[in-house]
């Protein structure tokens, strides 16, 4: 029995230009416009090159490799470098920076016993210590729990 695996049916990936998907071009364009507008506030003259470079930078940073954008990969690379450095020297400047950024430094050292710890099982009740009486009022106590001796 064979199944033809289908393309990603929950994601849009319309054709753009120069082999760049439309979605990425659109995103980079918006980023370029935002950079241009901010630059225009700071530099009323000459903001267009900023916008253009913003567009190009967004285009480059959103390039996909291994299913992740360049931006994501860079971010994780920096985070990785920071957590390893912080784990080796916790009191250093890098260590303090990692702590400030709340980076997961515990991921540098993995303890098999903790990572693969079985789930907490439901508390088992030992019914052997139940004491029952024929009549509720027998011995003046009825049905009671008996402390384990």
């Amino acid at each position: 029995m064979v199944a033809e695996l289908k393309s990603h049916v929950l994601r849009r990936d319309e054709k753009g230009m120069f082999g760049i998907p439309f979605k990425r071009l659109l995103g980079a364009g918006i980023a370029g416009v935002v950079v241009f507008m901010i630059a225009r506030i700071l530099f009323p003259i000459g903001a267009i090159p900023f916008g253009f470079f913003g567009f190009i930078a967004a285009l480059i940073l959103s390039a996909q490799s291994g299913g992740l954008s360049l931006y994501t990969r860079l971010l994780y690379r920096v985070r990785g470098w920071l957590i390893i450095a912080a784990a080796s020297k916790p009191d250093s400047l890098v260590g303090q920076l990692a702590e400030t950024l709340e980076l997961p430094t515990h991921l540098v050292l993995l303890d098999g016993e903790q990572v693969f710890a079985p789930n907490e099982k439901a508390v088992e009740v030992d019914l052997s210590q139940w004491n029952t009486y024929a009549a509720p009022d027998e011995d003046g106590e009825g049905l009671v729990f008996v402390e384990q001796l």
């Binding site: 033809e4 990603h8 957590i83 390893i84 693969f116």
Partner: protein, 716 residues
Amino acid sequence: MVATRSRRKEDVSPRTVLIEPFDLMMHATEDGVAALQQRFSAWLRTLDGPARFLCWQMPADLNAKIEEVTQTARQTDDRARAEMCMSYRRHYERLQEDAEFQRALCGMVVWSDEAGGTVANGIASAFDTLAVEADLPPLFEGRYTLREAPFSHLAPVGRPGGRPFWAILNSYEFLPAAWNFFRPIPPLLRMNFPMALCIDIPETLDRNKAVDAVEGIIQAYQVHLVSLRGGEDSRAITRINDCRRTLQEINQGDALHNVHISIAVAANTLDKLRSRVAEVITEARSYFRLRQEVGELLSRSVYFFSSAKSTQVGLPNTTHPVTSRELALMLAPLGYRKLGVVDGVLRGEAVGGKYPVFHNSWRDKRAVHEVWVGQSGFGKTFSLNCLLNREYAENGVPFDMLEPMGHGIHLARAFGLPWYVLSAQSTCLNPQDVMFPTLLEQTSHTIRIYETVMGRSLSGGQRENLERGLLAQALEIVYAAYRNDLESLSPDKTPTADFVCDVLSGLGEKDHIKQIAKDLADEIAALVTGSGPWAKFLNGTTTFDFGRSGRDWIEPRIFSFHELESDPTMTALAYTQCLAAIRRDSLRDEQPRVIAVDEVYRMLRHPSLLDFLVEAAKTFRTRRKKLISIDQQMSVFMEGKARLIFENSPIRVIFSQKQGMNVFREDAAFQHFNEQHLNIISALPRFHFILDVQDEFIGYLASTPTQDELRRFGST
């Protein structure tokens, strides 16, 4: 944003279930794999929360088994047994040298409100294999640290102690390709190195929402295609077609799951790890793309092999939507059984898999009976001899072998045991020998033997009932002196058949009763006394010592009936008396013992003896005596009361059954066999068999004798 079917309850606990892989070769027909896919996808459709399928593949060896037989050889005082153990040790060592064994274990994590046992039962019933709620095995033991040089990997902290380096690969893109149960996952598992595979299903989309989402994508693409001027977007057209196919499958009942694959690869050196990672990426490339994780993402990916929820793992989302029928094919590792536990004795070598299969049938308090069927010359006797040898050598389980062909001599020689040959000329088996502790049971057993001799039943009519009563009365008189302690009656003092006939002929108060008693006595006397056909065989003191003679432990015994071959009734009687003696001894202890009865049909065709066999099978079971009933055709065990023997035997060993396939096709007891099973059974070559352990295992095995076994039993 697509909403999911899951209730997003963070407090739903993960239920971890271990699943025993089965042999896909047993389903390898077009219909077989289609049925398998349908079964898997039917279960996947019911998912209403996250789930995760895991498969661990680790190098395995037979060291535990080798150590076990070595210990047994050291501890036993029996030199012959020690030598056998050492020969098994050599055999296991040779097997290990020639192969690279792996152990595969599959597991499923399901986040569900249902109890773990319920989830396990659901999986067991849907996948038709053993599934138990249990903790998942760890990917690694001890502490590991993240290292970035020379490439990102996990290295053991402190003394490695044989602990490998690990790298993890995550899928990020699935290519349009044809998947089946044989590609692309199984080739990855065939790589002979330790690895673990995770099929993570972080969400299963609600049907209506999935339809809305997919329809939304279709609409968007249609708008996009309309707006294209002078260009063509083939990917958009393909995507629309894929969406339509997905909708069709969802409307046929499939669910839409988001899936991602993680593969953890291990190696003892970094160079080897690098090359293995490259090998895995290349192997999967035409089906799905894998990314080798680095830094923080590598550490996070480790949690995919635990019971941590995908949302807690916190990896960037690179899942791919697949329908249930597609996802079912990703569970292909379930169909690749590798070396299992080495507990128990060797039952054979898996055909195709080339790994030894062990089975311990002494795990339960009660013995597990077996039924063996197969045409003559296909290796039943040889395989049985090997099994008895292994049970005796490795577990110290003695046996009683009842066989009609005279092959017992090989076993007797192998063990240096006396060979008990029952002969029409020199053997005498007294029907009055005490086999049961109470008078009622003993008289009914003896009456059964006389019924078999006479070839008629002493019940069903007025005269027959009277005859039965008179014979019982005669026997009560015969046993009267030992009424209170029947078992103290030794064989040498047991009254003989002529005495019973004398007593019987004098019974009755009224004339017509006297006449009936006299006629019955004459009838029996004509057969078993004087010059009657069974006089030598039945009228006298038993010439065999069936008892334990004061011993705590009875050594293996081999009874051959080939010298009774000419008379089937005599053979059946001999079988009955032997089994009755064994049964009597069985009641006294719970020491495991194997009782193998070849050519069972000889007993089955005598109704009164069949009742005895059925009753004995039940008694043996409770006293840890394994009964192995052997015959040529399975149909023998499926008719009438003989079926009770079959139903009390959860292990079925099936050799070639070319001539009797109808029973496997028609009988409800074999509904669990698919077309491929039946094809295998009908074409089993010599020394190949199907081992069917009820609710546990169906395997296609080949007899793999050791050199020592070949030397001993080769001529059988």
